[in-house]
């Protein structure tokens, strides 16, 4: 069993007997040290999507499905195509890619984990940490190396924007936690 706060996009869980793939999981702190997790999920049998919210300590049975290490190849609207080491290609629906779409770029070498249900690729998980280059951000703030002052930065390739430390400059490579979309540190 896994608690709601341990789940992440790409996990498959059982809800009322139906396997559901989590497309997005958003953690928020509630009152009295409690927390809630808002999850967007899709039924693998019904195909229907739903937005839900759970207490962070709600428990779920995780369904372990076949997984393969793959690399991202290209986007063929509306499918993202991944390839395994034997050059087999697998298509994942754009909707099922979830937050991973923020970091998918042509030519990326990060190993992704593609999950299969009854032979069909149904979701993709990125490594917990990836490195991406900053395409644009406002000029660095001199003197602040604390990492506490943040500013937005746009990533090369996906164009995804996220808050980064004020000392980051255009062209810097940064480490990002893909589970939370949070900047971790400068990578170069």
């Amino acid at each position: 069993m896994k608690t709601a706060q341990e789940l992440r996009a790409g996990n498959v869980i059982s809800v009322g007997g139906e396997p559901m793939v989590i497309l997005k999981a958003e953690y928020s702190r509630s009152g009295r040290n409690g927390s809630v997790v808002k999850m967007k999920m899709k039924g693998l049998l019904s195909g229907s999507g739903k937005e839900t919210v759970y207490a962070a300590d709600d428990k779920f049975e995780q369904i372990i499905l076949n997984k393969k290490d793959c690399t991202y190849s290209y986007y063929a609207d509306p499918m993202y195509v991944f390839m395994d080491e034997e050059y087999n290609q697998y298509e994942v629906e754009a909707e099922n890619v979830g937050d991973a779409v923020n970091y998918l770029t042509d030519g990326m070498e990060d190993k992704c984990e593609v999950t299969f249900y009854e032979g069909k690729a149904i979701s993709v998980e990125l490594p917990n940490t990836i490195v991406r280059e900053v395409e644009y951000t406002e000029p660095a703030v001199r003197g602040d190396t604390s990492g506490k002052v943040m500013k937005p930065a746009k990533l090369v390739g996906s164009g995804f924007e996220l808050p980064v430390a004020a000392f980051i400059e255009i062209g810097d490579k940064i480490e990002i936690d893909t589970r939370t979309n949070e900047f971790k540190r400068r990578a170069n």
């Binding site: 809800v15 509630s30 009295r32 409690g34 207490a55 709600d58 049975e61």
Partner: protein
């Protein structure tokens, strides 16, 4: 055809600490029973704490009716037999109890498994809501009313978030509260009688009356010193509770109790008994400035429409400071630009910040503007009635 409102309701409350949980649940229970005519059972796991705000409650009884609400004891930890209270025979038989239209679990409290099983088994499944904590943060709007299908059972709970915007569940507000507040605040005789009932002398010229309801707070001595040394006489009304030892220590005393009066310099402190909710409302209405804590008294201070300072329930990692700032940001909308920073500075100083004396001086200088702002703020919030929203939503998802 539009469905009817639910007719019966179970509210489950697990008292964590203090009086916030039960305070909100008791208020909601009375409103649903007395204003909307529901048959309400309030399940409480700590009758001793509840008894502080409901004097006629008999804590030895596991079942009784007070003010239109059936109050039932339950053991949220399911260890009643070991604790021997009230006695094992009085433990609820949940399979017989789960036959209501609406079930509300307050503040994410876990319902007994057997009660949930009985809900699943019942022919007409009740609407099941989780009444969440109050927050002014933006994320609340996108979470409000979302379903939470049970991971294992064919049963869906819904998350219901109180809040300060129309896209949230709103705030608890009794039907005639604001009219009663206005009548009291216009009636000087009623206020004089009220002060006499507390054995507090009549107001003197230029005197400031402040209620002080707080958790332990390192800023208390500095604030009391500022009042003591200030030019303006300050009468501080202090309900018995967690702040009392610190205030007593300021006067060099080991402790205090209701009825004590302590005076030094410009400051007089009157220790009040812990009072019932309607009496606490009157205290908030009668004072010029209110220091409040947690969720329930914070909302009541906003209905009182007087300048207020909120001490938020402290959480790990300082996450409560974001919540404090979220309400502060909403509250100061519409305030003159020079008054808003005074609110921010004092709220921050009162919640772990520094230099509360200076922050108080700036806040106090803006008191007139804040006093004018209070009624407009309360009116703005009053259009979003939590109990009504909750019943309306229950009708929609039934």
């Amino acid at each position: 055809m539009e469905k009817d409102f639910p007719r019966s309701c179970d509210i489950f409350c697990a008292v964590v600490d203090n009086y916030g949980d039960i305070g909100v649940c008791w208020r909601l229970a009375r409103q649903l029973a007395n204003e909307y005519g529901l048959s309400v059972r309030l399940w409480v796991d700590d009758l001793h704490g509840f008894g502080k705000m409901l004097p006629e409650l008999d804590v030895s009884l596991s079942q009784q009716t007070c003010r239109g609400v059936e109050i039932r004891w339950w053991d949220s930890s399911e260890k009643a037999i070991q604790r021997g209270f009230p006695h094992p025979q009085s433990l609820p038989r949940w399979e017989r109890e789960a036959s209501v239209d609406l079930v509300i679990g307050a503040f994410a409290c876990k319902l007994p498994d057997s009660y949930i099983a009985a809900m699943v088994a019942s022919e007409a499944k009740p609407v099941w809501l989780n009444l969440e904590y109050l927050s002014a943060e933006e994320w609340v709007e996108s979470h409000h009313k979302l379903p939470s299908p049970h991971p294992q059972l064919p049963l869906t709970k819904y998350f219901f978030f109180p809040g300060f915007t129309p896209r949230t569940g709103g705030l608890l507000l009794e039907r005639d509260l604001l009219q009663r507040r206005d009548a009291f605040q216009r009636d000087e005789d009623a206020q004089s009688r009220y002060w006499r009932s507390l054995h507090v002398p009549p107001r003197t010229a230029n005197e400031l009356r402040v209620s002080l309801f707080s958790y332990e707070n390192e800023a208390i001595p500095e604030l009391l010193r500022a009042w003591e040394r200030g030019a303006q006489p300050v009468t501080c009304l202090l309900p018995e509770g967690r702040a009392l030892p610190q205030v007593a220590a300021f006067f060099g005393l080991a402790g205090g109790r209701a009825g004590d009066v302590w005076q030094r310099g410009s400051l007089a402190v009157h220790v009040l008994p812990f009072v019932e909710q309607p009496e606490y409302d009157r205290l908030l209405w009668a004072c010029d400035v209110n220091f409040v804590r947690g969720e329930d008294s914070c909302v009541r201070a906003q209905w009182a429409a007087k300048p207020f300072i909120w001490q938020i329930y402290p959480q790990q990692d300082g996450v409560h400071l974001d919540k404090l700032d979220a309400l502060r940001a909403r509250y100061v909308e519409g305030l003159p630009a020079d008054a808003a920073p005074a609110v921010r500075e004092l709220w921050q100083a009162w919640n772990g910040g520094t230099d509360v004396a200076a922050a108080w001086a700036r806040f106090s200088a803006r008191r007139k503007q804040l006093a004018e702002h209070g009624p407009a703020w309360a009116k703005r919030l009053s259009g979003n009635d939590l109990a009504l929203n909750l019943l309306d939503f229950s009708r929609q998802v039934a």
